[in-house]
Structure formats: structure tokens, C-alpha cells
């Protein structure tokens, strides 16, 4: 029944094998002075920003043309290279620096100017006196080009349909919905403007002022449910039109002994749109046709802070940070329902706006010292308080733009405040030449507090304590090999769960509560607060096998087990009499999380003019969670959770794996030529294995495997025609194939409850060619 995906034994075997291999390497004969690999073969869009650092250091102007073989949003997701056809290649860098005299300098830089995603910057000043800068970035996000919708007004915050339109999913697909479907692409643009000014106020004081403004524009997908027309939902694009302004001013005082930095940060988010209306396609009955969603509210944030460091002696340093911030949000509330007249009885919230406010205070002090020649020690304390001062009120719950409500569904907001205190001690000692043993201890106490404990969820706790202990050994086994192995143990425990509250946090109605009608399962141990024990082992090694060959490897493995009994064997007690007996232990929710990552980098320089490089990584994460299908009874009964109904239990193991390998080379066949290439292959899978008890009929099965396969080949050549002129030739081939059960084999009308978009999991195959001339070094 269950697919064989859980493989702790196999994983541990891999970990032990690689760890042993690294240890074995230790037995053979320092580190490469530099691991040139990644630097030479940037694991990114070499086509447009290749590994040649000269592009950022030399003065140059680059002009050229490129050609993209196919339309694909996914391929050009962040680069903007979404359309088939030609495109210009353009960029420049011009730095002028007067090294000898008055230290004046200026620099202008532009990159990928021929594409939708581009960068421009300028900076100048007198080094050591003042500097000013201005930057512009445009980042595009092309998400989906396979989506279809039936509404008019796509791209706006008001999607409409003809006034007589009404359709029932399933029944009216062919006649009413399918003919209206039309493609609309989902994309966003973010324009980022930055200006900065910095200067020196004498020898010891300096200041910096930075301003950044982000404009976001475009559409994203969202679901939107309706109360009328059968309780259905639609997935549609909502409009984004907002800006975030951020300003930071810093005044610094610096001497060899003491450093002080005082700063102020201001951030303001302004959304030009406060709501999004979508005509209900499932009914045209007057008073039931509208659906409305609130959009992200405008808000602001102020923070003052101070960072300080003080060198008490050569070996002892005291550092600290003090920060105080206020986050506020006071956007006017929408009416309860779009289907009731604004201001009508029952459609007016108790407040016109939230007046939400969260005040955060942070203090950290840390002492680092060297009590003896071979020992380093750090002791730190942190206090981090988040005081949520948002006013509390009772709000009518009108489900999904319904027009009538019941007092039993009245809701009360439940702002949560937290106070965290953390104390840690870390130290290392050189137990033998260059052999370092490091150990650390940390305790974190996190307290939760609410306006009224009555509104706690049974999964909530008053506090948690998280303790961590770590030990690491770093040892150069020889001049050529440095290895390290470390182990960290973490455990979280906390206060008892409140066995008298079975409600979602916000349920208000006293009658409803007095009936002990459950809304939340009392055995749920939410990931956020649950007890757990975690073991983590990390091994790494760097080996310079010879002057031309170097390797670097690492293995990271963790296992986090939620503490508690297994739901399949423990009978939940009757509700509520003996509930407390099992409450501290995880029963439902995540019970186990495991992961491993194995990496190996190799660099080989077979000749002075040829460098080769390879890397590989295998990563795996798996979570196991327990569930129990149950329904709330009229009073104290937990239907489906009695001793006789434990067969309603289920579990899900979600396994994500991916393997990445890459190879590359850079060759300088003669002085005027640089050629090279990289190839990267990534294969990822996701498997959700589901098992159900005999009480669940029909029994559920595992999900089909989702997978994605990416092949990327990049080739480049640079020919220096003369000292002032180079030619660049670039080629990129990228192929992505993927399967995802959330989208594949589903049309817009495949399911009765939600009008989908018909989008497909991404796949593309693109070739891109580029040739450009680079005029440089004038």
C-alpha cells in the first residue's frame, strides 16, 4: 500500500559512507589557496553576466544582439527573456578614480539594458570625504503564460461578467464557461530606485543616509470563495499596484577602541488598492453576485537602534545592540459583505480601522574573550520582546460575502505578544596544533501572551524552552587536508497545553463555548510549539590532492522527532475528563522530520591555461505527519475520535529529493581567446505517501510523484581583437520538464467547486545565441 520512500537506513548509510570517505581522505595528505571553481564558472546566467570579473572592473561598453528560440514565461521568469526573437545586448561600466591626488572618483554601470530586467547605477564622490550613489533595478517576474479566465477586466481590481451570466460548474462548462475562457498571462514588475549619501564628519564620525523605493505592478493569482451559488470558488488574477519606501540614516563613531552606530529605519508600504471585487459566476440572483477580497493593508514601520562594540583589551570585546521599533497599520475596514449596502445594518464593523500596533524591543549584549592563549569564549544574552497592542473587538463573521450571520459565529481578534530571552555560551580550544574543539550551549525561553487566555487554542502554550548543545572538532590531518565533524542536539519543551479550550483562537460566542463544541482537535501539537528532540551531524573536508587538484565535500544530516505517543496505538481519552494525560506529547501533526545533504566539489587544473570543475549535491528532506479524520459533535462528543473510531487515523510521508551535478571548464588556447562552458543537471522529485486506517472509506492512496528535470548548457567565448576591442559569443540551452499533480490533467472546469485556470506545470526548451562587441580600456 505504502510506496517505499522512507529510507532512514539508506540515508544513514550514505551519510556514514561519505563521512567515512572524508575521514579516509584525511588519512592521505592544505587547502587550496583559492577554490577558483565557482568564481570561474559562476553557476548562473553566464550568457549575460559571465564569470569574467573584468566586466565589473574594466571600463567597457558592450553592444550586441541575441536571439531566443521560443516563447516561454518560465524560461524568462526573472530575466524578462520571455519572447521568441531577437533582442539587444547592451551594458557598460566606466570607472574613473584619481588615486594620487584628491581621491575623486565616479562610476557608472549598466547591465542587461536590452532586456526587461535591467540595472543602472551611478556613484561618485571624494573617497574618504563623501560619496553619493543612485541605482535603478527592474526585476520582472513572469509566472504563468498558460492560464485562462472567463472574467472581463483582467488586470484590474474589478473583474466583471455580463449581468445575466450564470453557470454551474460541470453542467454549464461547454455551453457557458468554456466559450468565455481566454488566455491572460500572470506577471509582475518590481522597479527599485535607490539613492544614497555618505560622508565623514571629522576623523571619527561618519554618516550614511540611504533611501529605497520599490514599485510593484502586475497581477498574481488568488483564489476567491463565494457563499452563494453552491459555495464555489474561482482562481483569478488580482491587481498589484503598491510601493514600499524605506529610509535608513546611520551615524557612526569609530576608534580602535570603541565603535558606536546609531540608526533610524523607516519603512512605509502604500497599497493603491484596498480591495478586489470579482463577480460571482455561479449566480446572478440580486444581492448574491459579488465577492470581495481585502488586499494587503498599507502600513508603516519605525525603528531606532544602536550597535556598539568596545575593545576592553586586546583579547576582550564587548558588543551590544539595542533596538526599539513600532509597526502600525490603520487601513480603513471594508464593510462585512459586498452584497449588503455600505452602511446598512449588519454591515458595519465595530471600528472604522484596526489601529494595529506592535512594539518590539531588542537588547543583546555579548562578551568575547580569550581567557588563555588557545581558548576563545563568547557569552551572549538577548532579550527580544514583541508587544502586540492591537485593540481587541468582536466582529461579525459573514462567511464569504454572505448577507446573514449568526451570533454563534461572532469572532474576536486575538493579537499575540511574545517575549524571548536567549542565553548562550560558545567556546573553542586548540587542543593540538591547529586542531580546534568547539562547544556551545544555548537556552531560549519564549513566552506567549494573549489579551485573554480564554481565546487560546488547545494547541497553544504559555511558553516553550529550547535548549541546544553543540560540539565540533576541526582538524588538519595534514598540510593538505582539513576536516571537521560537528554534532548538535536540540530539544524543545514547554508548558502544559490548556485542556479547557477546544476552540480556534477567535471563537467568541459564550453559548457556543459552554457547549464544549470542539473546533480544534485536542491532540493536535502544532509545529510551532510542539516538543521535539533533534540530532544534527555535519561533516566537511577540504583536500588539496596536488597542486592542480582540490576537493571539498560536506555531509549534513538531521533528524527531528516530535516527542510523544503514536496516534495509531494510543487511545485518545474521553473528552474532556482525562484529556490532560496525553496532552504534552505530540499526537497529531508533524511527528518526524529528517534531511540529508551531500555535496562534493572538485577542481582540476590539468594545464596552466585550462581549468576544469565539477560539483554534485544530493539533498533529501522527509516529514511524517499523523492525522485523524473527525467531525465536531453537537456537544462534548469528538466524533471519529472515540476508542472505537481510531481507525480514522491517517498518516502522510512527504519526501522531497533532488540531485544536482555540474561540470565546467575554462580554456585559454592562446592569449587572445577565452573559451569555456558549463553544464548543470538538476533532477528533483516530490512524493506524498498517504496511508489511511480502515475506518476511512474509500481508503486513500499515495499521490503520484511530482518531478522536475532541468538541463542547462552554457558556452562562451571571448576574443580580444585588440586591446580596446573584444568580441563575445554566447550560447545557452536550457530544457525544463516537470510534472505536478496540482495542475496537470486539469482544465479550468475539471472540478465542480473551483473554477481553475487550466495552467500546466512548467516545461520549456530554449536556445539562446548572443554576439556582442566590447569596447574597453580607453
Amino acid at each position: 500500500m505504502k510506496q517505499k520512500i522512507s529510507a532512514p537506513l539508506r540515508r544513514r548509510t550514505v551519510v556514514i559512507a561519505v563521512g567515512a570517505a572524508l575521514a579516509a581522505l584525511a588519512a592521505t595528505p592544505s587547502l587550496a589557496d583559492t577554490m577558483l571553481t565557482a568564481r570561474l564558472f559562476r553557476d548562473s546566467d553566464v550568457l549575460f553576466r559571465d564569470a569574467d570579473m573584468a566586466r565589473w572592473s574594466d571600463n567597457y561598453i558592450e553592444l550586441g544582439v541575441g536571439y531566443n528560440s521560443h516563447d516561454s514565461y518560465r524560461f524568462g521568469q526573472f530575466s524578462g527573456l520571455t519572447d521568441k526573437g531577437g533582442f539587444p545586448l547592451a551594458g557598460f561600466n566606466w570607472l574613473s578614480r584619481d588615486e594620487a591626488n584628491d581621491a575623486q572618483y565616479w562610476q557608472v554601470y549598466g547591465s542587461t539594458l536590452g532586456l526587461d530586467s535591467r540595472k543602472l547605477s551611478a556613484e561618485g564622490g571624494i573617497q574618504g570625504k563623501w560619496t553619493a550613489s543612485i541605482n535603478y533595478d527592474r526585476i520582472t517576474r513572469s509566472q504563468w503564460d498558460t492560464t485562462s479566465f472567463i472574467h472581463d477586466g483582467l488586470g484590474s481590481n474589478n473583474l466583471t461578467l455580463p449581468s445575466t451570466f450564470v453557470a454551474t460548474l460541470g453542467a454549464d462548462d461547454t455551453a457557458k464557461i468554456n466559450p468565455r475562457l481566454r488566455g491572460y498571462n500572470i506577471e509582475q514588475e518590481r522597479d527599485i530606485y535607490r539613492v544614497g549619501l555618505a560622508g565623514f564628519l571629522g576623523k571619527e564620525w561618519d554618516f550614511k543616509v540611504n533611501y529605497r523605493e520599490d514599485h510593484r505592478d502586475g497581477t498574481r493569482l488568488t483564489g476567491l470563495p463565494y457563499n452563494f451559488g453552491g459555495g464555489r470558488a474561482v482562481i483569478v488574477p488580482y491587481e498589484i499596484d503598491d510601493r514600499t519606501r524605506q529610509m535608513e540614516a546611520i551615524l557612526s563613531y569609530t576608534t580602535r577602541v570603541a565603535q558606536l552606530q546609531v540608526g533610524y529605519t523607516y519603512s512605509k508600504f502604500d497599497n493603491d488598492l484596498n480591495s478586489f471585487n470579482v463577480r460571482n459566476p455561479f449566480t446572478n440572483t440580486a444581492g448574491q453576485t459579488e465577492g470581495r477580497m481585502s488586499l494587503a493593508p498599507s502600513n508603516d514601520f519605525h525603528q531606532v537602534y544602536a550597535n556598539a562594540g568596545y575593545n576592553y583589551s586586546k583579547n576582550t570585546r564587548l558588543t551590544g545592540k539595542l533596538s526599539y521599533s513600532i509597526a502600525r497599520q490603520d487601513e480603513n475596514f471594508l464593510p462585512y459583505s459586498a452584497n449588503l449596502a455600505t452602511g446598512a445594518a449588519g454591515n458595519v464593523p465595530p471600528r472604522t480601522s484596526l489601529d494595529g500596533k506592535v512594539v518590539r524591543s531588542l537588547l543583546e549584549v555579548a562578551l568575547t574573550t580569550k581567557p588563555m592563549d588557545k581558548m576563545n569564549l563568547k557569552v551572549a544574552y538577548q532579550y527580544n520582546d514583541s508587544d502586540n497592542q492591537t485593540p481587541v473587538a468582536n466582529y461579525t463573521y459573514l462567511s464569504r460575502d454572505a448577507t446573514t450571520s449568526s451570533t454563534t459565529t461572532m469572532r474576536r481578534n486575538a493579537p499575540l505578544s511574545t517575549t524571548e530571552q536567549k542565553f548562550s555560551v560558545d567556546g573553542d580550544y586548540e587542543i593540538a596544533a591547529k586542531t580546534i574543539l568547539r562547544a556551545g550551549l544555548e537556552r531560549k525561553n519564549l513566552k506567549y501572551s494573549m489579551d485573554d487566555k480564554l481565546y487560546q487554542n488547545p494547541a497553544d502554550r504559555d511558553y516553550t524552552n529550547t535548549d541546544k548543545a553543540s560540539i565540533e572538532l576541526r582538524r588538519p590531518v595534514s598540510d593538505e587536508f582539513l576536516g571537521s565533524v560537528g554534532y548538535t542536539y536540540t530539544q524543545r519543551r514547554g508548558s502544559e497545553y490548556d485542556k479547557n479550550n477546544y476552540f480556534e483562537n477567535t471563537y467568541w460566542n459564550p453559548t457556543f463555548r459552554s457547549q464544549n463544541r470542539l473546533t480544534a482537535h485536542p491532540s493536535m501539537r502544532a509545529l510551532l510549539y510542539a516538543n521535539y528532540n533533534e540530532d544534527r551531524v555535519r561533516t566537511s573536508g577540504n583536500w588539496t590532492a596536488s597542486e592542480t587538484v582540490s576537493l571539498q565535500g560536506a555531509v549534513d544530516n538531521y533528524r527531528r522527532k516530535a516527542k510523544g505517543p503514536n496516534c495509531s496505538t494510543v487511545v485518545d481519552p474521553a473528552i474532556p475528563a482525562t484529556l490532560s494525560a496525553t496532552l504534552p506529547d505530540t499526537c497529531l501533526g508533524q511527528t518526524l522530520a529528517e534531511g540529508v545533504s551531500v555535496s562534493l566539489d572538485v577542481q582540476w587544473q590539468p594545464a596552466e591555461n585550462l581549468t576544469t570543475f565539477a560539483f554534485g549535491n544530493y539533498g533529501e528532506t522527509e516529514t511524517t505527519q499523523k492525522g485523524r479524520t473527525w467531525v465536531r459533535g453537537a456537544a462534548t462528543t469528538l466524533v471519529g475520535n472515540t476508542a472505537g473510531n481510531l481507525n480514522n487515523g491517517w498518516s502522510a510521508d512527504v519526501l522531497n529529493r533532488d540531485a544536482t551535478i555540474g561540470v565546467g571548464l575554462k580554456w585559454q588556447p592562446e592569449e587572445r581567446w577565452d573559451v569555456g562552458g558549463t553544464y548543470v543537471y538538476n533532477y528533483g522529485t516530490g512524493l506524498s505517501s498517504v496511508r489511511t486506517g480502515t475506518g476511512i472509506v474509500p481508503a486513500e492512496t499515495s499521490m503520484p510523484e511530482n518531478w522536475n528535470r532541468l538541463n542547462t548548457l552554457q558556452l562562451f567565448a571571448k576574443w580580444d581583437y585588440s586591446k580596446q576591442l573584444s568580441w563575445r559569443f554566447n550560447y545557452l540551452y536550457e530544457n525544463l520538464q516537470s510534472r505536478d499533480w496540482a495542475y496537470d490533467n486539469l482544465t479550468a472546469t475539471s472540478i465542480d467547486q473551483v473554477l481553475l485556470t487550466g495552467q500546466n506545470s512548467p516545461r520549456y526548451s530554449n536556445h539562446v545565441f548572443g554576439v556582442s562587441a566590447v569596447v574597453k580600456s580607453w
Binding site: S30, S44, W56, R97, D98, A100, S111, K119, I126, R141, A233, R256, V257, L260, Q261, S267, S294, P297, G309, T319, L322, Q329, F333, L363, K378, Y383, Y395, L398, N413, P415, T419, D426, I436, A459, T506, T519, H521, A526, D556, G589, L600, N617, T623, G627, T629, V631, R632, A652, N656, D658, V680, S688, T701, N708, A742, N745, S750, I751, D752, Q753
Partner: protein, 329 residues
């Protein structure tokens, strides 16, 4: 009340420390001043045999960097002492120490007081840099993760290069990946930040020189760091989603995953790790039979396909709608 006292105490201790640091700083300010000595001495005076450039031509790119600007009184080029008579050599000694003996006996190892590289001890290297650079983002360097693991400034920075790769957003990640190889692999997953296209560097979130936050983040908390670009999630909201308010990484892995949008686990399973409520559907077992052709498709597909739970509960980061308690509005 106890909490108020605790806060006052914490603030008082912090202010006292800051004042102490500030006052003491003034007293010791003179320590940082260089003595007034001639910047260039002749070879006859020092016994040096030849200019540094004769053996180290490749490293002279440093003269084109900020460190090489003599017009700035703080730089090695302005404060260093040349022992060879060649003014260009002044800056070498500012970081590497007194090179007189090395110049006399260039082939004898161990005569360069401070060398930079992975074979050399970390502390002298870092002390040489921190002598001028302990301010700003380096205030918390001592005791930081990178310092504790004996990383040096030269582990990431190329001081002699006219442009340092780690200081350029487009190339920064490649430097970090030299040690954080698993992060490089994550970059190739289906859902990532725009790091591959050079618009998003590691330092967009991380303070590699140390900070007060776990994982050396730029801001005080994970969420504060994320809100720099995602301020629409900041709230405060009328209806909070507790795990989102607590820590974005409860659900997201910002380095990349195969579950868009960078979710640690697929929906609906991720939601069901905290939500299995009665009277509705979140305690239901969802599996292969909820997909097309399956026996549970008609009843439960809307909770599994498309946006799964967020087909309806789309305000997953918090809602400000007065009827948005279930994050549906």
C-alpha cells in the same frame, strides 16, 4: 508588571553599556593615530634590495582599488611606509607588516609578518583588517559564526583585485557557494529568489560579518528581514496567521524548494501539520484518490489541486477584512 520591570532593567543595562562604550571610545581615540614618520624611506636606509613589484607584479592591481587611493588619508596607500624607495610599495607593509627582512631574503619563508590565505592563521589576518574596519557591519564580527569557524577576511574578499567578486551582487553568491555548496544546489530548484539572474545576493538577507540574529541575518528577526522586500506581509493584521507572524521560515525555505512558492512541504500537507479541525475538512486524509479519476475527486479535489487550501484560504499571511477570521477574505 514583572515584564515591565524586566524590560526597564534590560534597557538600563543596554544604555549603560552604550554610554560606557561611547565615553571610553573618546578616551582611547588617540590610539588609532599613526605616528608622523616619513612615508618613503630609501633602500640605502632600510637595506631593502628591490621594489616589491619585481616579484609581485600581479598584485599591483591593488593600486587601482580603494585601498590604493593616496588621496584618502585612511588607506594603506596613504598610511603605509615604503622600505624600497618606491612609493607604490608603501601600501604593502600597511597590511603585511614590516617587510624589510623579507625583502632582503625573499626566498626565506616566515619573514612576512602577516600573510593572507587559508594556510595562515586567521587571527593576525583579521586583526590587520579590523584595525581599520571594525566599525559598521563588522561590529559584531567577533564571536560571529564565520569568526568562530576561523574564516578570514581573505576567505571571501580579494583585496588585490580591482573589483572584489563578493562585493558585486551578480557574483557574490558564487563566493558564498565555495563553502555553502548545498545552497548552490538549492538555487536550481523550481521555486527560488532571483539569485541566478544576479538581482538578489546572499547579503540581501545575510550579514556575513555577524549580527544578533540566527543565521546572521541583516535585521533583528527573520520576518523583519523578509519585510524589506515583502512589506505587504508586515501587518499588523486584524486576523493573524500565527505561524506567519512568528517566522516566515516555518513554511518557506528562502533558498529554494520544488514546492512553489518556496514552501517546505506541499499543500495540503503543510497546513495539516498544524490544522486538523473538526466540523470542516482540514482533518480529512487527502491522497491519490482526490485526483482526476479517483473516488474522492468529486468531494475533495478543491482542497488538493490548483492552490489547494489557498483556493479559499488565500489570505494566508493574515487578513484585514472584518469577516476574514478564516483568512478567506
Amino acid at each position: 508588571m514583572n515584564q515591565t520591570i524586566q524590560k526597564c532593567r534590560a534597557v538600563a543595562v543596554g544604555l549603560a553599556l552604550l554610554m560606557a562604550a561611547g565615553l571610553s571610545g573618546s578616551a582611547f581615540a588617540q590610539l588609532g593615530k599613526a605616528p608622523d614618520e616619513p612615508q618613503t624611506r630609501s633602500r640605502a636606509e632600510t637595506g631593502a634590495t628591490k621594489p616589491c613589484v619585481e616579484c609581485h607584479e600581479g598584485f599591483y592591481a591593488i593600486t587601482k582599488t580603494k585601498h590604493g587611493v593616496k588621496g584618502d588619508a585612511r588607506t594603506p596607500a596613504a598610511t603605509g611606509k615604503s622600505i624600497t624607495g618606491d612609493p607604490a610599495d608603501a601600501m604593502c607593509g600597511a597590511c603585511h607588516g614590516d617587510l624589510t627582512e623579507h625583502n632582503k631574503k625573499p626566498r626565506t619563508p616566515g619573514l612576512v609578518p602577516v600573510t593572507f590565505g587559508k594556510k595562515s592563521p586567521a587571527e593576525p589576518q583579521n586583526e590587520a583588517c579590523l584595525a581599520c574596519h571594525e566599525q559598521g557591519s563588522r561590529i559584531h564580527w567577533k564571536g560571529s559564526k564565520h569568526e568562530q569557524t576561523k574564516q578570514t577576511c581573505a576567505s571571501c574578499h580579494r583585496m588585490h583585485a580591482s573589483k572584489d567578486p563578493v562585493m558585486v551582487t551578480e557574483t557574490q553568491a558564487s563566493v558564498c557557494f565555495e563553502c555553502h555548496q548545498d545552497r548552490r544546489a538549492e538555487l536550481h530548484r523550481m521555486s527560488t529568489h532571483p539569485t541566478k539572474t544576479g538581482f538578489f545576493g546572499c547579503s540581501s538577507c545575510h550579514a556575513s560579518h555577524g549580527s544578533t540574529t540566527r543565521a546572521s541575518l541583516q535585521k533583528n528577526t527573520v520576518n523583519e528581514t523578509c519585510y524589506q522586500c515583502h512589506a505587504q506581509m508586515r501587518g499588523p493584521f486584524l486576523w493573524e496567521h500565527r505561524s506567519a507572524q512568528d517566522d516566515c521560515t516555518n513554511c518557506h525555505n528562502p533558498h529554494g524548494t520544488n514546492n512553489a512558492p518556496m514552501l517546505k512541504t506541499r499543500l495540503p500537507y503543510l497546513c495539516q501539520q498544524c490544522h486538523q479541525d473538526g466540523g470542516n475538512h482540514s482533518s480529512t486524509a487527502f491522497g491519490g484518490k482526490t485526483l482526476p479519476g479517483g473516488a474522492n475527486f468529486a468531494a475533495n479535489a478543491q482542497r488538493v489541486v490548483g492552490n489547494a487550501c489557498t483556493n479559499c484560504h488565500m489570505k494566508i499571511h493574515g487578513s484585514n477584512h472584518p469577516s476574514g477570521a478564516r483568512l478567506q477574505r
